[in-house]
Symmetry: C2
């Protein structure tokens, strides 16, 4: 079940470096694309950075709306993560093509992709120079969600192989998130 994640724990959703799928919407248009280069920037207020290529429809929609959602796909969604990273929304409606189920977000117009492990609803902290020179977007996290089977009490606990988050290596190659290792103290 999708449940809210406290903002002070929101960055733990992406601290281990999983690959993401970003959704964006502006006016009647929406799009979805895979984005591997997302990481935390600041704990308080919770901020992340993401690299959004300039030739993408998602980038256009993010710039038009000032909003996006960072969705965290699981191993079960590997094919989806790969497909939405390969195709351009300029040419096709990826939601229809891949039959992507979505749910409304709470603070932004971009949708949440159903079945993900976690979600960050974000507002662009406008930095025109960074966006232009490096395709780098600074994002304020407005709300966060987790699947409570996988994330609760501020911690991940993956019950099975299919529910693990994924890490992108190169075209078509990923790692699943592996075993938890805790320091003995």
């Amino acid at each position: 079940m999708r449940v809210p994640v406290e903002l002070r724990h929101a960055l733990r959703l992406i601290n281990h470096g999983p690959t993401t799928i970003i959704t964006a919407a502006a006016g009647a248009r929406r799009n979805v694309m895979a984005v591997a280069w997302v990481m935390p920037l600041e704990f308080d207020p919770p901020r992340v950075v993401a690299v959004l290529s300039r030739d993408t429809l998602t980038r256009d929609l993010v710039e038009a709306s000032g909003q996006l959602v960072v969705n965290l796909p699981t191993v079960a969604q590997l094919d989806l993560a790969y497909a939405v990273g390969k195709q351009s929304g300029h040419d096709i409606d990826k939601f229809t093509l891949h039959d992507i189920a979505v749910e409304p977000a709470s603070r932004v117009a971009a949708p949440l992709i159903s079945g993900c492990a976690g979600w960050l609803e974000c507002r662009v902290h406008t930095e025109p120079d960074l966006q232009t020179r490096y395709d780098l977007f600074v994002l304020d996290v407005l709300a966060a969600w987790g699947d409570d089977r996988l994330f609760s009490g501020g911690q991940w606990h993956f019950p099975d192989a299919q529910s693990r988050t994924i890490h992108h290596v190169t075209a078509g190659v990923f790692f699943a998130t592996g075993d938890r290792r805790e320091i003995a103290r």
Copy 2:
């Protein structure tokens, strides 16, 4: 054995979001600290970004020298990664305290930590505004290395559990890099 990684493959060393240990040196001083927030920024030229907190000795040395090394620790180095993230080099010599073996880098003064899975020798692409406002450093990758048991032909292939890279979640909690999943095409 440590072998060179072609610059066009250098970003694959960190594309899956592993946590890192950063080494820096300036004059007679050197230091080492864990840095989880490192990710690729551009493929060509190969560039990465890293968040370096302003109250750290490593940050001072990076600003003084304009150089650093991104080292990629393995599960076998988990205790080391945790320890050098907890302690400040202002107070102690972490290399001596933890008996950290190092090797000279090829292009920078900062040392390479022996036994890591991969290494990126980097030069700071000076961005004073980003460094001051976000603690964010843009880094040009000058040279890259991999342990050829773990990374060759531009791909990771971890032979055993102890040699996998690690991903930081929160204080003392990590994930090992998990199983490889390849898209069927």
